[in-house]
Amino acid sequence: MALVHKFLSGTYIFRKCLKPSVASCPVLGTRFADYCSSSLQKPVAAPGKNSSQRNTEGDLQGHHQREVALDITSPGEKPEFSFDKAIKDEIKDHCRRLKDDIVNYWRGPEGRPLHEVLMEQAKVVWQFRGKEDLDKWIVTSDKTIGGRSEVFLKMGKNNQSALLYGTLSSEAPKDGESGRSGYCAMISRIPRGPFERKRSYDWSQFNTLYLRVRGDGRPWMVNIREDTDLIQRKNQMYSYFMFTRGGPYWQEVKIPFSKFFFSNQGRIRDAQYQLLLDKISSVGFTLADKVDGPFFLEIDFIGVFTDPAHTEEFAYENSPELNPRLFK
């Protein structure tokens, strides 16, 4: 399936055009369309010309309209279409990654010596210092179900942060089915190894999630998904809330993993389970506070660390009244 995806994208691009990820949706049956992150913009001729246009707030609309334009190439450039070369490049890339994987395996877990991994007390997992860091994230909104929210992701000032911004609209889509709408989300891509093998993060050494963010006062939901091979479990996630202050100062949010509650298909379940940290697949931020209007969230980095003062294992307990079968 991974090779089919690569085949479809390989015939379109030779690393010069935008990836038509929407085109792959019907084939692979993805549940939401990917908005291309700003690093996959169409090639713009003169960067100096664009920087002057970007300066004003009024041009923000036009700026991110250019950002999300899909498979439109400028007439002057003729992208090279070479099926064989694209496939060969992909195979070479995957073989090189496989070789790196095998070499790193000798060194230790995650390519580092074991004692380094075992003694680690803090780790920056995602940071935003360049366009390539944005490629590790997907942004999505209720546009996939016919809503009117818009969300974009771009690098912040001086390439020191990422800016997630857009407009939330809780107007329900007029499809006769949906009664509610209004969400925007930013989800990390599942880490992949050579030949698109699914990987996961092992955070069992740590007990707290650390986020350095600057928001606009809106409440966000931080979601963590575990790695799974079962389709039914893809709707399960662990969530907690992040309240941003707004204002010019950066905010350091520390959320212990014991506070995350379990939900399935968007509903908080009566039977609660502890978040197991040895196979984490992705982390995401969701805004769905039913307040229409623009929003932004600036993220410096996301990390994990061990708080020795935090000894709680799980913040919630199951109730015999709600879940008698758990107590049989």
Partner: protein, 347 residues
Amino acid sequence: MKPPILITIMFTMVAGTTIVLTSSHWLTIWIGFEMNLLAIIPILMKKHNPRATEAATKYFLMQATASMLLMMGIIINLLHSGQWTMSKNTNPMASTMMTIALAMKLGLAPFHFWVPEVTQGIPMSSGLILLTWQKIAPLSILYQISPTINPNLLMPMAIASVLVGGWGGLNQTQLRKILAYSSIAHMGWMAAITPYNPTMMILNLMIYIIMTLTTFMLFMHSSSTTTSSLSQTWNKTPLTTALILALMMSLGGLPPLSGFTPKWMIIQELTKNEMITTPTLLATTALLNLYFYMRLTYATALTMFPSTNNMKMKWQFNTTKKMILLPPLTVLSTLLLPLTPLMSILD
């Protein structure tokens, strides 16, 4: 789980394995496997969390597929021999299918992918049953059909299992996954000797079960699931730390401990059968296993691993966990080597 239900489930599990051990009719053997499988599913899901459910699902799918293949082999055998008796198993296709089915049940390479995933997702006590009791039934069938097994099929699987078990366990920090890869490697050793001396396979199985039981019990006693939590046992129960040292070296096959006995016997049997490359390869790849056992020992018993100040000098409470069998099992896991001359009766 309520005690009556637990007793029923455990009884069904034991009955299933016993039926497999004592039957000579293929259909009854298959029924025994299914009883065993159905009974262990609630045991795997003892802790109600999504990971345990996923592990139980994966285990069920894998074992059901293997049972299906086994039934296919049984029916092909029935077609060619005209009877259900186990002794009449001469058709090569049937024998191949049965071997592959049993390899899937045991977690031999290349059908080993489920073992670490399932073991990691279930509680320690369920993992103990999965990696010890669940091996008895398939190995008993392997023992009984060993004269008809194609060595050209089983030997590559055995060597691959030892390689995978050694390689895969190298970078693990989760103890259950380490034990899962250890199980794969030990199954490889057992499979390697089965075509030549099946009784030696039983010896290896018994010693492996004793060592694995002891290891699981020690980990349950110290409530450790990762290497870093195991490295703090010197603080909680210093005696457990010393036992882990001896046990890891025994699992790695170092003399003068019990774990050396099966490896020695197997290498001796293989060389008696004029095989040089295979035992050399097995002995060399066993070093990979020894490496990660020794690394566990290094972190646990040989050094005081770095930790935060509130982890040091813990108040040592009396343990409430009853591990009655732990002392005799520890003795058996480490001090059986002098009894090796008695094993000559197994020739």
